[in-house]
Structure formats: structure tokens, C-alpha cells
Subunit: 474 residues, 2 copies
């Protein structure tokens, strides 16, 4: 059976694109190297028709399919289990930009396009594709869609979901649904598009998408502010919405300890205000995009910061004087994950809470963790504009990080996720569920929601061959 | 059985809220009075628990349920058939605003809240709820969500879908899914929210929702421009996106004939530029919302219009000098439906096409209709910023409109919808499918899409009691 399936797959995509030997680690282990699987084969179709034929062959053989893009996900959603029976279906060869429609402000692209390549494609057309996240050099738009990726510009442009107008999908039966569309309004039946977005390859395979584009802003300015508390950061967010309107394209928060790790491990970076004794507890990185001019953007930023000083929600602030200074400020923010890795293993969370409740959540959960695990260190940073925190937990100073994780990871997760649930938040804001957090979904979603999800899965993939164990536990 | 069900319903909601006698036309006939049904009863539950109990009672009795809000829909989606066996479940008593969260920019409201009341609730909190459409004085937010209503500010704020963060839903089994959420990022499983939005009461009943709010803009300005062609209107749209950015909150197009009807039937209205011989063929109403000041808004508008004159895509333009002048301009736009009704019965379409293809579509379809039905008159207007046209067809001048509709309606619909399909457009941009256009869905959607929709319907409502015949034909 296995040999017959492999032969069929080779006939469909060509023998060169059915990988069964050599080092397949790039396909079989996840980005953070937490899961090491073994596939039956890695298949790399080159067209939608080939994807459909591969799916039909696998369905006929009863073989499970794990769709994969850049394999940069953080929740183990695109790698095979250890059984050696699952087929990894890699979309990376499908990387054509099928069309750019300037007057409609859309582009239609294949699932395997690298996110950064799409940003560049848009830029060449003097337009903006605003999706931006750490893995943009390697992740694919298909993966972004499957996980509904977030990133740093969500406060203005929304998640990947909000940037997508239409999809092309291969169903678990190997049929092609052509739902590509450049329409901004289309109320003809159920919203299949949004059902597939965020379904992490468990309901079908996204092969192409029509994505929104935007005019390039005339200017983009970055500011950095020290704030006296998380509550002050939330107040600054409100003032920014009011005074910058849709100009507010970035609003990131960083805790003092997170920045102290950057200062420690990347001493070449100059981190404003954060290195001193008695440094303020939180910092905010703001971005203002202006359709008029840099001068106007600066004037609006200064007016906002003046108000914020008066209000007391900002202690000190600097507006970048040049693009390179702006890049330096963003670079500090983006260096936090690396700095915390340098400091040692840690327990990561990607949570969201209503912005209004974040100050109380942080106060509650910081105290809880300190009480339960004396000396524990909290690396707290994230996209406050979207209520999204990367609330990470580092071993006490000087402790053995590996031993800390072994002993405490489950307990820390329970404490954090229970607190998140208590504050009506989400245990996965932008990283998806994958296999890694499928147990959390089972634990924290209501039975009614789980029942609805299972009914949908059963209806669309009755054979259960699409990415089994991802999102919904087997 | 029927008596037993009515008794049960009376026990659940109180006898006063089970209507079976007297004039029930307001519940049993649709807004445009095209469909006259007969219900078993109109039930008006006062809480989510009562809705759930009513649904369980109907499910037990095998009685179909037609959920209803303000009953202002244009596609016959909220009235019973003529069988006298269906239960109309009216949500209008559930009209509480459960919470406003200023710092999170959200409000949680019950399905029966009147849209205009929600606009006013937001305004009182010095915030903006931007959903705005003709029926706002009577329609409910539950209906807006069920049909994913559009309206006049979609170009900036999106459809109802984009304004919703979470839902509370009663399933066809009478369970309550509490998916209320003020989260802007939440990637934990399938997107149930967007599946219910736009499903027109066929998968469950939306009882409450958490909706986004926005800061009030500091100023809102309106302009009116005469343009030489539809292509020029699309060019003006592109310039407006580029130079106003997210300040562009309205972009409406109106054909000269549509405005001539306003001039004829509402002579008290002053319609700029349109009344003259050789008047330009199209007009655009633009709205610019500014987070800074009226002066700045005016300056940005003037800069845009200057560029547009130079480009040639604007022939003449006026910027409203006062709020009352702005209201007058909007009033002209909003008077078109009434003016065309005064002129006589007509055949309405609510279509969308990619903005880039609208000029070619209009040229093609105008010519086609003129060729097929000499003398036919086209009342073309709509939300060009969203690619949404109300492309309506009026009988030749002096003809018998009723006879024209009887003889030509099916043929006109076929010509228009075939052309829409040819241009990859949608036959229902913002009005939904209802019972009225269920045949069009069956005709124009791909078999794959229809199969997916039927599978979802069967999975979530296996008994088929939720609004049968709406969206999917029986």
C-alpha cells in the first residue's frame, strides 16, 4: 500500500519532488525543535492541480496529510508525528504572484510565497502589504493564513484574516474550491474563507489567496516612551487612538526586565531610559504612519506626547530623528526573544486580554507567580495595541534553567492560563493551537464551542486525514 | 402537538409574548412587501435563556424557527413561509447594552438593539460606532450581524463582520455558545464567530455581540465631485486612498440619471452640477474624517481635489462649508432610492465587482441592457469605495412599470447577474441571500462551495429547523 502510494505521488509531482531519504529534519522537526517527527514522505507539488491529485491519492490510501509552509510555526502545527505514516505536503514550490491589481488594491498570490517577498512585491508597485512578523524572511503566506498570524501592525491593519479577501483551497476530498476574490463585500452564503483561515490545515489546504494592499504612507515615525505603569501604557494607547486615529500603526510594550536582558546580552544596543537604577517599569514603542508628510507626522507625535506628559502616563519620550534611529528602536524590541534565549531556556506564552484588563491581569499574575515560585523572572513584552502579551517566565537568577523547565513548566502554564481564563483572555493570541496546545484547547474552550468545532471537522474531513491531532485532539 | 408547543412557548416567555392573533403583518411580511407569510406564532423571548428554551421546545416539536430582528432585510430572510407551521422568533425585546469598555474600545450588546440606538450609545460615551445604513432607525444589530450588513462607512471601517469581536449564539439544539469576547487576537480553533455572521439565522441565533468602537474623529468633511466617467471615479478613489489614507470614510458614486430622478421628484433639493444640459455622467460623494481638526481636514481635501483636477478625473467639486451643507449632500445620495420609487417600480440589484473592473462592467452591461431592452433606464449608484453598486433597472420612460417588471424581471436579472459572474463579481454584496436569492446562490456558486455550505448546515442543524429555505434551497 505504502509503495503504491509513493509510486502514485511520484507520478503526480515527479520523483524529484517526493522526498523519502536523506536529512528531512527541516520538514520533520518544528521550528523550536520541540517535536521530532518521521514522515512517510515529503511531497512538493508545483500547482493547485497537483495538490488536489496528491490529496486524492492520500485519501484513497487513507494516509494522513500534514500541510507545511515555511515551517516556522511556534505551536507544532506543520510537522508529522513519529509514526512514519504521514505525508508532509510542502507548499513552498507554489510561490508565484499570480496578479497585482493596483486599482483594486489587491494581489493574488500562491500559498508558498515567502512573506518578505510579498512585502517587497508590494513595495515595488509603490504599495504596502502590512503583514509583518519576526519570521517574515522564512514563513509563507499560506502558513500565515492557516494560523491567522498577527505581528506588529495589527493595531492598524488587523491580523492575516483581516488582510485576506479570498482563498483557493483544496478540500480533504481533493476538490478545488476557487474562492479567490478581490471583493470587499460579498454576502452570498457562509463565510468559508474565514473558516479556513486559522484552521491550521485541518479542514483543507490553502493553495492561493487574494490579499489586500494599501497605499504606502508618506512618512512613518517611531517614538519610544517610558511609562510609570502598565495602566499608564493602556492610557497612552487610548490617547494614541484618539489623537493619531488610524495613523497609529504600532504600539508595543516592553517590561523593564525584558529590556535589561537586551542591555546585558546586546551591549552594543542603546536602550533609551531603561538602563538606569530605578528605571521605569514599562516602555512603549509607538509607530505613526502619515499619509501627508514627515513634518506632519512629527507634529502629531509631539502633540500626542505633550498631552501624555501632562496626563502623567508618559515619564520620558524620544521621537526617532531618522529612519536608522527608528530601525534601532525597533531592533531593540525585536531583540528581546534572542536576549531571553541568551539568558537561558524559558517558558513562553502568547496570550491576549482586553486592553482594559491587562493592568489588573499583570498585577495579579506577576504576584501569583512570585508567590508560588520565589525569584521567578518575568519577561513581559508584546503587542499591547492588540491586547497581546508574550508573557514569558524565566528561571530564578542563577538557577538551572533546564531543571526549572522540567520541574515547573506544567505548573507555570497552569497558573498563567488559569489566570488568563479568569480574565476572559485567550491562551493563544497569534501563534495558533497546533499539536502543542491542543490539550489547552480541550481544557479551556467551552464544551459547546468544542462540539461545534468537532462537528465542522467531521463534516468537512470525515476521513480525518487532514493534519490529525492539530487543534482538536485525536 | 401544535397546541402543546404553544403552551410550552407560553410557559417559557409568558403568554403576552406569544402572538398568534390579530394583525401580525409586521412580523409575517417582509420589508419590501414581496412575501406574505403565515406563522404558527410570533415568540418574543426576553433573555438568552428564554431563546434557548424556545429553541429546545421547537426542536422537540420539530417546528421550524425563523429568527427576526427589525425585519428590514431586503432579501426575505426573516419572515415565515405560508405554511402556518413556522415559529417567528423575534429578538426585539433583547435590547440591553450589557457593557461599554472605553479602554478596550468595545461594547457588548444584545441582538435586539436598534442600530441607531447603538450609534447614540457610543456617541454619549464620546466614541464612534461606525456602522451606518438606511434602515438604521429600525434594523437591529442582530439582523446586521446575521446579514453582515454593509452601509456607507465600509471603505474605512469594514462590514458588520469586521466590527464584531465576539458573539453569543443559541445553537439549533438550544445550547448557548458564549463566544463573547473583547479580544482583538484569539487564535484558538475554528472561527465560529465569522461562520455565524452572515449565516442569516440558518445555523443558530445570535443573541448578543461584542462590537468595536472607535474614537470620534475631530472633524468630518464632505465633498461632492462631478467626474467625466466611471473610470475617472475609480481613479479618484485611488488618489483618495493615497492622500487621505484612513481618513477616507465614505466614497459613494451616483449616475447622472439617478440624480435626475432626485431633481425631478425632490425639487427642493439642490443637486450640485447635475441639473444642467450635458451634465457629467457620474458624481462622487467623499467623506474625510480627521483626528486633528476641521482646518486640517479641509486642507487635505483641497490638496486632494487639486491633484484630481490636474489629473482630469474631477471636472468640478465643492467641499461642504458647514455640517448642514454636508447633511444636504448626504441627503441627496440617500434620496435616490425614494426618487426611483417615485418614478415607478424597478428591478434592484446589489452587486459588487473589483473596483478596477467596474468601469468595464458598467460599459459592458449598460450597452447590453440597452441593446436587449431598448429605452431601459439605469439607476446606478452605490458604495464605489467597496466596489458595491446598486445597479437598478427602470422601465423605459412612459412605459407601464408593473407590466415591465412582469415581463422583464427574470430576463433583466439573468442579464445582469450573468454579467456580474463574467466579471467575477457577487450577486449580493451587502443584502444577503435570504429566500429571495437562494435560487441565485444555487445557480452562481460553484458546486464545491455549495457542497461545503450544505455539509456545514447539515453538521450544525441536522434537523433542518433553522430558517429553512433561507440561503440554501430546501
Amino acid at each position: 500500500m505504502t509503495t503504491a502510494l509513493l509510486d502514485t505521488l511520484r507520478r503526480i509531482v515527479g520523483a524529484a519532488h517526493v522526498l523519502t531519504e536523506g536529512d528531512l529534519a527541516a520538514y520533520e522537526q518544528d521550528w523550536r525543535k520541540r517535536s521530532h517527527g518521521k514522515s512517510l514522505a515529503v511531497v512538493r507539488p508545483g500547482s493547485t492541480a497537483e495538490v488536489a491529485a496528491v490529496v486524492r491519492a492520500c485519501a484513497d490510501a487513507g494516509a494522513a496529510i500534514v500541510p507545511q509552509g515555511g515551517n516556522t510555526g511556534l505551536s507544532v502545527g506543520s510537522t508529522p508525528d513519529g509514526s512514519g505514516t504521514q505525508v508532509v505536503l510542502s507548499l513552498t514550490r507554489m510561490n508565484a504572484v499570480r496578479a497585482i491589481d493596483r486599482d483594486n488594491l489587491t494581489m493574488t498570490v500562491e500559498a508558498g510565497c515567502i512573506l518578505q517577498a510579498l512585502q517587497e512585491t508590494a513595495e515595488k508597485a509603490d504599495l504596502l502589504f502590512p503583514l509583518s512578523l519576526a519570521a517574515e524572511g522564512s514563513c509563507t503566506i499560506g502558513g500565515n493564513l492557516s494560523t491567522n498570524a498577527g505581528g506588529t501592525q495589527v493595531v492598524r491593519y488587523g491580523n492575516t484574516r483581516e488582510l485576506c479577501l479570498g482563498l483557493e483551497v483544496v478540500t480533504p476530498q481533493g476538490e478545488v474550491w476557487n474562492g479567490l476574490s478581490g471583493l470587499r463585500k460579498d454576502n452570498t452564503g457562509y463565510d468559508l474563507r474565514d473558516l479556513y483561515i486559522g484552521s491550521e490545515g485541518t479542514l483543507g489546504i490553502i493553495t492561493a489567496a487574494t490579499m489586500k494592499l494599501f497605499p504606502q504612507p508618506a512618512a512613518q515615525l517611531t517614538a519610544w516612551a517610558a511609562v510609570p505603569s502598565m495602566a499608564a501604557a493602556v492610557r497612552l494607547l487610548g490617547l494614541s487612538h484618539q489623537h493619531l486615529g488610524a495613523g497609529l500603526t504600532g504600539f508595543e510594550v516592553m517590561g523593564q526586565f525584558a529590556l535589561s536582558l537586551v542591555i546585558k546580552h546586546m551591549p552594543q544596543l542603546r536602550v533609551p531610559f531603561a538602563g538606569l537604577d530605578g528605571a521605569p517599569p514599562y516602555y512603549v514603542l509607538l509607530e505613526n504612519s502619515d499619509s501627508e508628510s514627515e513634518e506632519h507626522a512629527r507634529q502629531r507625535f509631539e502633540a500626542l506626547l505633550e498631552l501624555a506628559f501632562e496626563d502623567g502616563c508618559v515619564l520620558d519620550a524620544v521621537v526617532a530623528e531618522s529612519l536608522s534611529q527608528a530601525h534601532e528602536l525597533w531592533h531593540i524590541r525585536e531583540s528581546i526573544p534572542l536576549a531571553q534565549a541568551e539568558e537561558g531556556l524559558n517558558i513562553k506564552h502568547d496570550i491576549s486580554i482586553a486592553a482594559s484588563r491587562i493592568p489588573a491581569f499583570v498585577e495579579h499574575t506577576d504576584a501569583l507567580l512570585q508567590r508560588e515560585i520565589p525569584g521567578v523572572r518575568l519577561v513581559n513584552f508584546g503587542h499591547l495595541g492588540d491586547g497581546n502579551l508574550h508573557y514569558n517566565v524565566q528561571a530564578p537568577a542563577g538557577g538551572d534553567a533546564r531543571e526549572f523547565l522540567r520541574a515547573q513548566e506544567d505548573r507555570v502554564n497552569a497558573l498563567v492560563y488559569d489566570a488568563v481564563a479568569q480574565f476572559d483572555g485567550s491562551f493563544s493570541a497569534e501563534h495558533g493551537v497546533g499539536v502543542l496546545k491542543a490539550d489547552k484547547l480541550a481544557q479551556y474552550k467551552s464544551p459547546v464551542a468544542l462540539g461545534l468545532m468537532r462537528a465542522i471537522k467531521q463534516a468537512l474531513d470525515p476521513q480525518g486525514i487532514m493534519n490529525p491531532g492539530c487543534i482538536l485532539q485525536k
